[in-house]
């Protein structure tokens, strides 16, 4: 199992979801992606992305304007 720590704090358009998608491409089922961002949209966007791709949203955190999303890759064929 590999953990991908993605620091997407301070990103402008196209935003942290781009970094998530790029990490996902490299990952395998069972790997963990931890995405950090300062864009509050990262939480609803990540939830939507997990729901639509059928990857597992493990959890989200927020601390003083910094957000962390943990995703487990499960949907790759």
């Amino acid at each position: 199992m590999t953990t991908y720590n993605i620091d997407s704090k301070g990103t402008a358009c196209p935003g942290p979801i781009t970094d998530l998608i790029r990490a996902y491409r490299k990952a395998s089922n069972g790997d963990i992606i931890i995405l950090q961002a300062t864009d509050p949209g990262v939480i609803p966007d990540s939830k939507a992305w997990c729901g639509m791709t059928k990857n597992e949203l493990v959890g989200t955190k927020e601390n003083k304007g910094e957000y962390e999303v943990t995703i487990k890759v499960t949907a790759k064929k």
């Binding site: 402008a12 358009c13 992305w49 791709t53 059928k54």
Partner: protein
């Protein structure tokens, strides 16, 4: 003599070097400073015009200019690409005869290009509007033969340059088909790995209704894994598939080959820089601008322009000891044509989210004005217009 090396003679390299040559004209005359561009290309192309070549039939020759006509006064050119860049020893080795050039300051502006190796089967099946003007025009040749079937456009992988361009392709191909009374017999499908048609929600809000109105089918969260040219299918990482008859997808892009494996680039070869002053991490005499760096914003011409202005100002300050340091604001200004003489813009900065701008004829006119002044802007002309347009986003006076 202080030697400034500019690796890459595209838009970013030309704008930055023209600004430097203007600000340091006296020093160049007195041979206290030299500026040298390293790029093997003899012509430069207007990349935003590739969509016009692909979907409107603009002749490729209209998008090209000889590089020698675009170089500002006092700038030397070495018509060779960089083979390796040794930042610690301040040296460039070129592909041509392994010639070595020393520098005091270096700016990397080598752009990015399609990387078909990431998606098996894509190169055989696809026609793109990113490689160059001639390749883009092949799409138009293909379009002229299409009478029925399914055209698939969209994003095959990340990152790529000009974020709105896949959406523009959808709108422009729809417009072409409608103008030629083919829209009811040719389907258009747009695929994207994002959860929305455009990743920034404010822009998605204004274009999503257009997709519905114009019957452009879409598949979101489609992560292209490979293409099967025999079956004419695109397969996703999750095992889903989309059938096509004609494929005009946006491929993932890569940086210049010589950057991969260096200690100043990430594992994919994108140069690591400070997102505000663009200096290459740990090297305050080295900078990287435009598509080649890893800053968290769009890969597009306007960003290269604004980054180049910041770097030129700061490098001039280093040489002369005068002036104040400038910082890049992260400003994006990507135009998205939505068909039928309408366009919107993706506008935001590091500190401001993307704005909701409805497509309009006025925006389309603004986009056309920018196209008209492009070649002159490479010499630094019309910079007053950019300053007026971008206002406080043109540069920042502090990093935060």
């Amino acid at each position: 003599m202080i030697k400034i090396a500019m690796i890459g003679g595209g838009a970013g390299g030309l704008i930055t070097s023209s600004k430097l040559s203007a600000e340091l004209s006296e020093e160049i005359k007195q041979e206290k400073v030299s500026i040298t561009i390293f790029d093997k290309r003899e012509t430069q192309e207007f990349q935003p015009g590739y969509l016009e070549a692909a979907f409107r039939g603009t002749k490729p020759e209209k998008l090209k200019r000889p590089v020698d006509r675009l170089i500002s006064k006092g700038i030397k050119v070495v018509h060779a690409n960089c083979e390796s860049l040794d930042l610690d020893n301040h040296q460039i080795i070129t592909e041509k005869n392994q010639e070595k050039y020393d520098f005091d300051y270096v700016i990397v502006s080598t752009g990015c290009s399609p990387d078909y190796s990431q998606i098996p089967g894509l190169k055989e099946a696809n026609m793109d509007f990113y490689t160059d003007a001639d390749v883009s025009s092949r799409i138009f040749s293909s379009l002229q033969t299409i009478k029925s079937g399914r055209i698939v456009v969209g994003i095959a992988g990340l990152p790529y340059k000009c974020p709105p361009s896949p959406n523009e392709a959808a709108f422009m191909v729809d417009e072409y088909l409608r103008r030629h009374d083919l829209r009811t017999s040719v389907d258009v499908t747009f695929i994207t790995p994002y959860t929305r048609l455009y990743t920034a929600e404010p822009i998605n809000e204004v274009i999503e209704p257009l997709y519905s109105e114009r019957n452009i089918d879409s598949r979101t969260v489609f992560n292209t894994d490979y293409v099967d040219p025999a079956k004419k299918e695109i397969i996703s990482l999750e095992g889903d598939s989309v059938k096509y008859d004609y494929l005009f997808l946006t491929p993932p892009h890569k940086p210049a080959d010589f950057l991969k494996g260096t200690d100043f680039a990430d594992d994919e070869g994108w140069v690591k820089v400070d997102k505000r002053d663009l200096h290459i991490t740990d090297h305050d005499y080295a900078f990287a601008i435009g598509d080649t760096n890893n800053i968290p914003t769009s890969k597009a011409g306007v960003e290269a322009h604004l980054e180049g202005i910041v770097v030129a100002n700061n490098l001039t300050m280093n040489v002369t000891g005068e002036g104040a340091k400038h910082f890049f604001t992260g400003r994006t200004q990507c135009s998205m044509e939505t068909g039928f003489h309408h366009a919107t813009f993706v506008v935001g900065t590091y500190d401001r989210p993307v704005e909701r701008i409805k497509p309009s004829v006025t925006n389309y006119a603004e986009k056309k004005v920018m196209e008209e002044i492009y070649w002159a802007s490479l010499h630094g002309h019309y910079e007053w217009l950019f300053k007026y347009h971008f206002k406080k986003d043109y540069f920042a006076e502090s990093p935060s």
